[in-house]
Symmetry: D2
Subunit: 170 residues, 4 copies
């Protein structure tokens, strides 16, 4: 019923010692906030909400990732600029730089998820299924409700274990 979320395609990571993947986060609820550092709605709403989510849930249940999906002003929203931004805004969670396309302005993960723009809130359940892709402002109460519900699906999720080739029921 819900599609499996496509794997992230990442040029580089900030705030994490080693690269992350949805595959290895399977079993947790994964929250991905797609943003651009010069996008006003990302700065006023998206980043603060990502931080609120990080504070409200435990790391063992919920992973929170930023995804810097640059589709305009590429020259000035480069890695150095993003590092300054992450430092100034005291962003503590891992941030992935969406892999630029060989041709055209839309980076690869943004394309795979068919995002309309930034900020977009993506929520993936414990079984790796895409449960929400919301462009624009989302209310805390409703975001909390969905993540809370997905966290509570743990019993069912633990019955299903997936590896690279298949999912099996224990």
């Amino acid at each position: 019923m819900f599609p499996i979320a496509p794997e992230l395609q990442v040029a580089a990571w900030l705030n994490t010692a080693r690269p992350l993947s949805l595959q290895q986060l399977r079993g947790k609820v994964v929250v991905i906030y797609a943003f651009q550092m010069l996008c006003p709605g990302c700065v006023s709403h998206g980043i603060p909400q990502a931080r609120t989510i990080r504070a409200a849930f435990e790391e063992k249940d919920v992973a929170v990732l930023g995804l810097h999906s640059v589709f305009e002003h590429h020259a000035v929203m480069n890695r150095d600029a993003l590092e300054a931004f992450v430092h100034e805004y005291r962003i503590g969670f891992p941030v992935a730089i969406d892999q630029p396309a060989a041709h055209g302005p839309i980076p690869l993960t943004m394309e795979a998820y068919q995002l309309r723009g930034t900020p977009t809130l993506i929520i993936i359940d414990r079984q790796g299924r895409l449960r929400l892709s919301h462009f624009g402002r989302a209310e805390d109460m409703q975001v909390g409700a969905l993540i809370g519900q997905l966290v509570a699906e743990s019993a069912a999720a633990q019955q299903v274990q997936c590896d690279d080739t298949a999912c099996s029921i224990r």
Copy 2:
């Protein structure tokens, strides 16, 4: 592990054709906002959050009730004044007037729940168990997370059906 929430003791109801009880709401998550109409934190935070909860969840899953627990200024926070307040603030969900005590200022439901004051957010799960009693400001994200989790406990809750005399597993 979680105690069964004590039944409400109510002098009168507003916004509902007939009296409600926790007993008859068993099976739903029940959110009760204890407030006083002249309590600043209730007006600025509690009532708006109750309204946000009402909008974020479906009536079939979550009941939202106000509980007017007057423990000071009794003469002016009477039923007529509350009706004007409910009208002016366009409160649409049912509101219970907490039963005054025969002696002393603390009404009976407030006493039974040992509330510290108003606003207090009370959350009861589908099986009638008290899961939260939070005095003061609560963040939308965390409130949403808890209610979302409790809504998701439906499968288990539906296996247990309670009536006046007993609970049985189907």
Copy 3:
């Protein structure tokens, strides 16, 4: 060019040892916030803005008064209820109870100023002239700008001195 503001007609005063009048406040800028204790916009916006004005200007330059102009729910917005409200909301500036009319719901000062409703922000200059009557939400920046301008008119105002019978230029 600007009309002289009509005198206040007051049934009773709270938060002041003796009655006030515009006549005796001549020489100061006078800010009057007309409100009703059960008016949501008054509680969320008007009262806080009155408090902000009180904090931003000196008492020697600017007087801040509340005016409780009840035109609905008269029975429950009585003096006892207002006293509880003023206590709970920690209102420190003087509050006048607008004199009820012999006939009809509109009190006398509200009628004299032809107010459309509450909250209404009334601003009177140092010479007693009505400079603003604004119904609904007013932005802090613009309110500050007007009061700041009127405070700065002191030099001119000091040249004109008014008593009960006449105004003279020194």
Copy 4:
């Protein structure tokens, strides 16, 4: 009593066809918001307040300028990045790029005004005198009050006319 504000030292201007100077703005109240595009408080508070000031006062009375005073992360807060920022945040008023120093990170206007950091709100009266230099958050009511007062000083200001060599009283 109030010192004459030092002239701006500017590497380049955005949003204006030709360079501006305090000298040529003499006779208006001048509001300068010193900011950095990657400074969180500038983005959440300073830029919106500058926009609110611009909307609250007339151009004939009050000039509003941005001053991009970069003292950290110089490489990524360059002119191209600032242009993207100004575009994305829809900043409509003129923005000066503070002249970098030959040695050291502090640009020249920032140094001349001895700014502690960003955001800093600078307000200059109609006679070119420095009346406020406020680092950090400033309340709208108080900012409006000061600018309103300075706008009202017009009569006095019009008596004094300054050119490049001198000020004379008409």
